[in-house]
Point group: C2
Chain length 331, copies 2
């Protein structure tokens, strides 16, 4: 099998014609915002290299292969649509979370303004669902968007909530990341002609993988290398986000967990020292260990679901490689 | 025939179960924002009376009747979906236009914050298209949303543009309002089983009516009674919007038109006196007369398109009554 980085690159290239087709259909102003956000050009429209990770379309294509299918136009459309929904959600989330950095660059709203970011997001969302409207896949994608929004709603609410249970946090992660990764997998299987039962199995694989993905994301935002992640360290901590390792630490009933709660209860803005101390406390309270164990559990269920599906050798190997990448990534 | 106000009320009531069903499916926080925006309750969730005009669903229902159909669940779903897309666009437009008043009340973002307004809009948009995903109507609605976004994009761009032609302004109005009214009509006809040709005729009727609607809207925002419109007078002028009467005045090659251009070229914020003077100049430059004549032309084409369709007597009378309401409304 090709190295997994190769797989992701291939997925990115495979969906580019469909993405271009959709983005080129936007009015000039929004086209520029969309291409900047996707990573095709800089703020002035000059071509650049380096785009997102393309894990979602890679999952769609690998699931199609795992069910014995190939990268038909229908499969590619599904993969492109899933990636566009992801792009839409990042555009709007960055506005809502006031995040000024995305993929190592200023976020779209901080370059083009909030209005353009909102409108471009609306268009990408609509175009993504529209792309699948002539198949029976559109409602699956739309349902994923609704679940994504429910997860984002919980995420916003948790910032103000004093106590959030681990179950609520995991449900949020399942909504925010599990839904769309699950749908990426389900759409790949369905577009390749899998039975409803098989498609549902691939969906389970993707959902479990998605929760693991989110936990790794949360951990990277606390302990990751900003040079690799492309996001300033401690953003989530400074925003007092109840990310999963934080929630685990706060609920740990340890001295470090109680101190963390006190730090979070202050109303001052976090400086670098406070952010570093908070990261330390999350680790001392067991948040990092819990996160690693939960990632293992989720990846374990994902791989069991996959094994039960009896995927083709190639497709199965690709999906296992993507799962390993999600666990071990540093960005 | 029932009075047209009765028609609108009936349309509103007829789609309420579908709207409720969708809004009740949202997470609590977003449900509260959506119901406030629609006009079901106040900011604290206490029931209130008085909602939007429901012109779009009334058009859907009347077009279904005009083609000999009835208000089947499919027709009602289409009408509800169109209204939800309208609600989505108002939610996001108010954020983008920084409008603090909507339907006589503080706009949703000014009560619940920008984040909640963005997210609720995303959910209503997705739920609207989702509602039609099991029919062949979803792509029609999605295309209308894309056209709506293109119109909104032009609208935002015109604020900064020094010169905008009347053709560009009319194209913008066709995108912002024509597309969705045209789609409201087309969906009603299609959901009632009309032929593609008939559906396209109803679409033309709705598009022409939509442009007339937008011109009347623009005029009301300059010369309307704020007590009736529910929006502060002169908002559009103060934002230097190239609304249609303004564009006509600026392009009029009259002394008043040139003075208006000078007033618009200043960088100071408009006070009440400047706004009142600008309104006067638009009128003196012929912007008001042009608007009235263009409304008549558009309504004329709409009614001719309708006559060519040979609608049922009841449905035709309803559509003509709605067209008359659009022309003569004061809010």
């Amino acid at each position: 099998m090709r190295p997994v980085t190769q797989l992701l690159l291939e997925a990115r290239e495979a969906i580019t014609p469909a993405l271009r087709d959709i983005v080129d259909g936007l009015p000039d102003t929004l086209r520029r915002v969309a291409g900047y956000h996707i990573g095709w050009w800089d703020a002035e429209g000059r071509p650049i290299s380096g785009t997102g990770k393309a894990i979602r379309p890679a999952l769609t294509l690998a699931c199609a292969r795992a069910t014995g299918g190939t990268a038909t136009p229908g499969v590619l459309d599904a993969a492109a649509a899933v990636e566009l929904v992801h792009d839409f959600s990042l555009l709007h989330d960055d506005v809502m979370d006031n995040d000024t950095t995305r993929r190592h660059r200023p976020s779209a709203w901080s370059v083009f303004g909030v209005d353009q970011a909102i409108l471009t997001g609306d268009m990408l969302l609509t175009a993504a669902i529209r792309r699948l409207c002539d198949t029976d896949l559109a409602p699956v994608l739309a349902d994923a968007v609704l679940e994504l929004g429910t997860g984002q709603c919980a995420d916003l609410a948790f910032e103000d909530a004093s106590e959030v249970s681990l179950a609520e946090c995991l449900a949020m992660a399942e909504g925010k990341t599990g839904a769309i990764l699950g749908t990426a997998c389900e759409l790949g299987a369905r577009a390749a002609g899998a039975t409803a039962q098989a498609a549902s199995g691939y969906r389970t694989f993707g959902r479990q993988l998605g929760v693991a993905f989110q936990i790794v994301d949360d951990a990277l935002s606390i302990w990751g290398d900003p040079l690799r992640t492309g996001k300033p360290i401690g953003n989530d901590l400074a925003a007092r986000k109840k990310s999963l390792p934080v929630a685990a630490a706060l609920l740990s009933d340890t001295a470090a967990g109680r101190e963390l709660a006190q730090v979070f209860a202050t109303t001052d803005e976090f400086d670098q020292t406070t952010t570093a101390r908070a990261a330390e406390l999350v680790e001392q309270a067991g948040g990092r260990t819990w996160a690693a164990a939960e990632v293992d559990r989720r990846i374990g269920s994902a791989l069991r679901a996959l094994a039960d599906l009896g995927p083709t050798p190639d497709g199965g190997a690709e999906l296992r490689a993507i799962a390993a990448l999600v666990t071990n990534r540093d960005h």
